[in-house]
C-alpha cells in the first residue's frame, strides 16, 4: 500500500504522509516506513497531538514544492530528495533482520521495488551532486551477486577450501625446544613433552603457546592462517571477503542546494555533464539556428541535417550506477565531442534526448555521425554498467524538407524516433 502511494504521479500525492494503525507490534523497519504509527484503541491525547503536529509539518513542506510543467514523473532521484525534504530533511538507517539488506532506510524502500539495491545508489548519487550530505553510520558487506547482506563468514583450508578445520594451540617446551600441537603433549589428561617425556609445569614457566594452528580434516593441510570465504544465505554464492560489496551506510541530511532542487526540480544530470564539454544551446536558440539553416538551404542550396537520439532506459542506468553516473555522462559527453565538429550545435530536450544540428552535412554524412555516436554510447554503457541500453534515433535533412517551421521539423524528428539495433563489433 505504502509502495503504491509512493509510486503515484504527482508530488502532492506520492509525498502524502502515511499513518499505520495497528493492533500488534510492528518491527522497527515497518514502523519506520510510516510517518506515524497508532495502536488501535489506545490513542492517547498527547501522543495524537504530537503526531498530528508532525504530519502537519510534512503537509506544510509538501505545499512548498513547486514542480515545473516539463518535470519528468519518473525522476526517482527527485522523488527521494523531495521525500527527505518533507520528512524533517534527514533520513536515518534502521537495522532490521527482516530486511534483505539487514540495514536499510525503510521510508525510502517504498520508492523502489522489493530488494532493490538502487536505493543505496540513489543516495550516493544525491550525495555526489551535493543535494544531501552523509555522516558515517556503519559499513555493511553485501553479496556481489544478489546484494543480500546475510552472509556466512567461514574460515576455510587454503589448500582444499574445506571449512572442516580443527583449531589447536601450539606448545613450545622451553627446556628441549620441542614445538608441536597441544595434542602431541596430551597423555592421560596431562601435558607431557613427547621429546623429553617431562611433565609440563605451567604456562609461562616452562612452556608457552606461541601460535594457533588449523588442521584441515579433509586434506590434512595445516595452516596458521586459514582463508576466509563468505556464503550468501540468499543466493548461496561463495566469495572472498575482498570481492564483496562494502557499502558505507550513512545518516543523510538535506543541504541547501538539495532543498532548492527539492522545491524547484533538478537540472538534468545529462545536461549538466554535457554542458561542461559541449556547447549546449537552449531549445529556442537551437530552433533559431534551424530557421537560419532552412533559409540558407532555400537560398544557397546548403545541405544540412538534424539528428536526434534518446537513451530510453537512462533512469535504470542511473539507479545502477549511483555516484558513478556523473562519470559515465561525462564519458558520453566526451565521445559526442569527438564525433562532432565545432560547427555542430546541440540541445537537450528532456533527460536522455539529444538533438544535433549538423550544418553543411548531407544525410549520408549525418548517418555516419549518428551511427558512430549511438554505437559508442551502446558500447560504453554495456561494458561499464552491464545494462543493455535502449537507444532510439532518427534524422532528417533540412534542405529536402517541405517543412518550413523549425519546431515542426523537430517534432517530426521525434515522432520518427526508432529503436536502434546494436550489433557488437
Amino acid at each position: 500500500m505504502c509502495r503504491n502511494i509512493r509510486h503515484l504521479g504527482s508530488p502532492k500525492v506520492y509525498l502524502k504522509p502515511v499513518i499505520f494503525i495497528t493492533e500488534g507490534k510492528l518491527s522497527p523497519r515497518v514502523s519506520a516506513m510510516a510517518d506515524a504509527v497508532f495502536s488501535s484503541g489506545d490513542l492517547d491525547g498527547d501522543d495524537l497531538n504530537f503526531e498530528l503536529k508532525k504530519i502537519g509539518k510534512i503537509n506544510d513542506a509538501i505545499m512548498k514544492i513547486n514542480p515545473t510543467e516539463d518535470e519528468r514523473e519518473d525522476d526517482l532521484f527527485l522523488r527521494v530528495l523531495r521525500f527527505i525534504f518533507t520528512r524533517g530533511k534527514r533520513i536515518e538507517p534502521v537495522r532490521d533482520r527482516t530486511s534483505f539488506f539487514g540495514i536499510t532506510y525503510p521510508q525510502l524502500e517504498c520508492f523502489f521495488s522489493k530488494e532493490d539495491y538502487a536505493l543505496y545508489n540513489t543516495l550516493e548519487f544525491l550525495e555526489e551532486n551535493g543535494s544531501i550530505e552523509g555522516d558515517f553510520f556503519e559499513k555493511v558487506h553485501f553479496c556481489n551477486r544478489c546484494h543480500c547482506s546475510f552472509l556466512n563468514f567461514i574460515e576455510v583450508c587454503p589448500n582444499c577450501g574445506s571449512a572442516n578445520l580443527l583449531e589447536e594451540n601450539l606448545i613450545h617446551h622451553f627446556p628441549c625446544t620441542y614445538v608441536g600441537p597441544e595434542s602431541d603433549f596430551m597423555k592421560g589428561g596431562q601435558l607431557i613433552c613427547p621429546k623429553c617425556n617431562k611433565k609440563l609445569k605451567g604456562l609461562g614457566v616452562d612452556y608457552d603457546k606461541p601460535a594457533v594452528i588449523h588442521k584441515c580434516n579433509q586434506c590434512g593441510f595445516v595452516t596458521q592462517e586459514p582463508d576466509v570465504k563468505t556464503i550468501c544465505f540468499n543466493c548461496e554464492k561463495e566469495s572472498s571477503p575482498e570481492d564483496l560489496i562494502v557499502q558505507t551506510i550513512k545518516v543523510y541530511t538535506l543541504t541547501s542546494v538539495g532543498e532548492n532542487f527539492a522545491i524547484y526540480g533538478f537540472e538534468s544530470p545529462l545536461l549538466k555533464a554535457l554542458r561542461e564539454q559541449l556547447n549546449i544551446l537552449p531549445y529556442n536558440s537551437f530552433l533559431t539556428l534551424i530557421q537560419l539553416e532552412l533559409e540558407r538551404s532555400k537560398r544557397y542550396g546548403v545541405e544540412s541535417s538534424v539528428v536526434a537520439f534518446q537513451i530510453v532506459n537512462l533512469n535504470d542506468i542511473y539507479a545502477k550506477l549511483g555516484k558513478k553516473t556523473d562519470r559515465l555522462l561525462k564519458e558520453i559527453g566526451a565521445l559526442i565531442k569527438v564525433a562532432t565538429r565545432k560547427s555542430d550545435v546541440l540541445t537537450i530536450l528532456n533527460e536522455g534526448m539529444v538533438v544535433l544540428l549538423l550544418p553543411h552535412t548531407p544525410l549520408k554524412g549525418a548517418n555516419v555521425v549518428k551511427n558512430r555516436i549511438v554505437s559508442e554510447i551502446h558500447k560504453l554503457i554495456e561494458e561499464n554498467v552491464g545494462v543493455k541500453p535502449s537507444i532510439e534515433s532518427s534524422m532528417s535533412e533540412i534542405s529536402k524538407k517541405d517543412i518550413k517551421q523549425p519546431d515542426k521539423l523537430v517534432e517530426e524528428l521525434l515522432k520518427n524516433l526508432k529503436q536502434v539495433e546494436h550489433k557488437q563489433e
Binding site: F174, P175, C176, T177, V179, G180, D184, D208, T223, E225
Partner: protein, 365 residues
C-alpha cells in the same frame, strides 16, 4: 626445505627464487617466522598467495631458532629435510647434489653442503672470511668427511633424513645446534657426510664487531656441547662408544681447544724466555702458516676450481694476510670465548635465544 628466521623477510623472495630454479623440483617449501616485528609476515603471506611456497608458520612470540626449525619439521612431509638460512642462495644443482649421497651410501643421516661467501667483494674482511670458508669448509670438511670425523653441518645448508630428525625430535636449544644435531645423529650410528658439489652462498659479517660476536657464539659451542654435553662420546666405558665418534670430538678438542691454550703458553715462553729469537721464529712461523694457507687454497681450487667464480679465483692475492687473520685474530676471539664459556657459561646469557628459554636451560643445567 625449511628456513627459520626472525626479521628475514627481505631475503625470502630471493631464497624462494633460488629454490624454484633448482634442477630437483619435488620440493616442499616451508618458511618459519620466529616472532618477527617487521614486514616478514606480509612477505610470507604474499609468497603463499602467489603459490611460491607451500606453507609458512609463525611463532607470535619468539622461541629461538631451534624452536622455529622444530615447528617446521613437525609439519613437513618429505623424506629429507633441507635446512637453510634465510639469506642463503643455492646453486641450481645444490639440492640434487646434497640428496645424492643418501642414495650412494648406506646409513647416511645427514649431508652438509659446501658453504661459500656471497658478499666476497664487499671489503677485506669478507675476502678473508671467504678464504677461511674455503679452507675450513670446502677443504676441511672434505677431509673430515673422508676420515669419518665430520662434526658439523652448517645451518646455512644441510640435508637430513626426516625420519632420523623425527627420532631425535628435532633440534635442541642452541647456540651451536648445528654441531649438536650432528653429534646426536652420530650417537645413533648414522653417517654424516660433506658434499662439496652441493654449493650454497651465504652473507658473512661485514664489520669486525659482528664477526667477533658470531665467532664468539660459534666457539662457545665447543665447550658447551663437545666438552660438556657430549663428553660421553669420549669414554671407552660407554656402551655406545664408537671410535670414530670419539675421534670426532677429540679432533675438535685437541686442535681447537688444547692447542689454543698451548699457543698462549708458547707465546708466553717465546716473549719472556726466547726474546732474542722472537723475530726469527715469528717470520718462520708466518711463512709456515702462509705455506699451509696456500696449500689449502690451491687444494680447494684443484678439487672444485670449475665451481669458483671470478671473486673466488682472485682470493689468492689475500693469502699473505691469512696467518694474521686466523692465527692471531680468530684464535684470540676463540680463546676468549672458551674461557667465558668454561667459567661463566656465557652462552646461557646469549640474546640469540629468548630469555625464557635461556633461563630454563641454565636452571636445568
Amino acid at each position: 626445505m625449511i628456513a627459520p628466521g626472525k626479521n628475514e623477510g627481505e631475503h625470502l623472495p630471493a631464497l624462494v627464487e633460488s629454490i624454484k630454479q633448482q634442477t630437483y623440483k619435488n620440493i616442499e617449501i616451508i618458511l618459519v617466522d620466529d616472532g618477527s616485528d617487521d614486514d616478514t609476515l606480509q612477505i610470507l603471506r604474499a609468497l603463499r598467495r602467489q603459490g611460491l611456497i607451500d606453507n609458512y608458520f609463525r611463532n607470535e612470540r619468539r622461541g629461538g631458532k631451534a624452536a622455529a626449525a622444530n615447528l617446521s619439521l613437525r609439519f613437513s612431509k618429505g623424506k629429507f629435510v633441507v635446512h637453510l638460512d634465510a639469506d642463503t642462495h643455492l646453486r641450481e644443482d645444490a639440492i640434487e647434489n646434497v640428496i645424492f649421497p643418501f642414495y650412494m651410501h648406506d646409513g647416511v643421516g645427514a649431508v652438509g653442503g659446501d658453504v661459500r661467501v656471497k658478499n666476497i667483494d664487499y671489503d677485506l674482511l669478507t675476502r678473508l672470511q671467504a678464504l677461511e670458508y674455503l679452507k675450513t669448509i670446502t677443504v676441511g670438511r672434505i677431509v673430515s668427511s673422508v676420515l669419518r670425523i665430520l662434526r658439523i653441518i652448517s645451518g646455512a645448508f644441510g640435508a637430513f633424513r626426516r625420519d632420523v630428525l623425527m627420532r631425535l625430535k628435532g633440534w635442541d636449544v642452541g647456540p651451536g645446534l648445528d654441531g649438536d644435531i650432528v653429534l646426536r645423529m652420530r650417537k645413533l650410528r648414522f653417517k654424516v657426510l660433506h658434499e662439496p658439489t652441493a654449493i650454497a652462498y651465504t652473507s658473512v659479517p661485514t664489520t669486525v664487531k659482528r664477526l667477533v660476536k658470531q665467532r664468539y657464539r660459534w666457539s662457545r659451542s665447543l665447550v658447551r656441547f663437545r666438552l660438556r654435553r657430549h663428553r660421553d662420546m669420549l669414554s671407552p666405558f660407554n656402551k655406545n662408544f664408537e671410535l670414530f665418534n670419539a675421534l670426532t670430538v677429540l679432533d675438535n678438542i685437541f686442535f681447537n681447544f688444547i692447542l689454543d691454550f698451548k699457543w698462549i703458553v708458547y707465546m708466553f715462553q717465546l716473549i719472556f724466555f726466547f726474546k732474542m729469537s722472537l723475530f726469527t721464529v715469528s717470520v718462520i712461523n708466518y711463512f709456515l702458516y702462509m705455506f699451509l694457507n696456500i696449500l689449502e687454497y690451491f687444494l680447494a681450487r684443484i678439487a672444485l676450481g670449475d665451481t669458483f667464480n671470478k671473486n673466488e679465483k682472485s682470493l689468492w692475492l689475500f693469502l699473505p694476510l691469512m696467518p694474521f687473520y686466523t692465527g692471531v685474530f680468530l684464535r684470540s676471539v676463540r680463546t676468549f670465548s672458551y674461557i667465558a664459556e668454561l667459567f661463566f657459561k656465557a652462552s646461557f646469557y646469549d640474546k640469540w635465544n629468548p630469555w625464557k628459554v635461556s633461563k630454563m636451560i641454565k636452571d636445568e643445567s
